[in-house]
């Protein structure tokens, strides 16, 4: 397509993309939440390393632990998706492949996130 117009000229008058600082803000918000939540996960893994299955399930399924883990999953998945989105947009320049990767990125975090949620809920209800 032989279009001599500049990119700026093409978007002028179309209004804002309605996203503004949303990506930045959500990225920082989840980063902040991830700090205590991942430290809690590290602590939990150390606590449970080498313990038998009954002890592990009883601990992971207890209310406060399960809620903290669910919060971590939510925050981490949003953070991961935003981060990988930036990587894809930075390095993949072919429009079609980029869109495919962005879709797969979303599918990946939803799949991993829901798997974790399923396991945590199952443990809480007495697996």
């Amino acid at each position: 397509m032989a279009d001599m117009r500049t990119p700026l000229n093409k978007v002028r008058g179309l209004g804002s993309a309605r996203e503004g600082a949303d990506h930045f803000w959500r990225q920082r918000l989840t980063a902040l939440a991830n700090i205590p939540l991942t430290l809690f996960l590290v602590f939990t893994v150390i606590m449970l390393a080498g313990k038998d299955h009954a002890t592990v399930t009883a601990y992971l399924g207890s209310s406060l632990v399960a809620i903290a883990l669910l919060a971590l999953v939510l925050s981490a998945m949003v953070h991961m998706r935003l981060g990988m989105q930036t990587v894809i947009e930075d390095y993949i320049h072919s429009e079609g492949l980029k869109v495919v990767c962005l879709i797969l990125n979303t599918f990946f975090v939803i799949l991993v996130g829901l798997s974790c949620v399923y396991a945590i809920v199952k443990l809480s209800l007495g697996a």
């Binding site: 996960l41 981060g83 974790c116």
Partner: protein
Amino acid sequence: MAQAGPQADRPLSPHLQIYKPMLTTIMSILHRLTGMALYAGSLLVAWWLLAAASGPQYYNFVSGLADTIFGRIVLFAYTWALIHHMLGGIRHFIWDTGSGFELPTVELMARATIIGSLGLTALIWAVALTMTGGL
């Protein structure tokens, strides 16, 4: 659209391979690499939780895998990636306030991040190994 019009064959600005690697460059790349590693590593957390939810037999199998030399190397690297990315994130929070952009400060924070991430990872593993009764 990206290749349209007069912009198609313009020369590109110099990129990574032109410049001498610097500490700040390496830290920037490491932050992105650890982030991508943690993205993949989330599969291990999901695997562990699903294993716990699926019963003692499968949990013992997964737990046994984590206890091998290979499993421990992966978990050690995972711990470092997590701590390094976290400290890098805290560095970004400092920059978000608009401070810490002076070059000596940037260099100092870069050094603190790498030393801190290695030190904290070693500390976490020392605590873990002590609590679980050694290697």
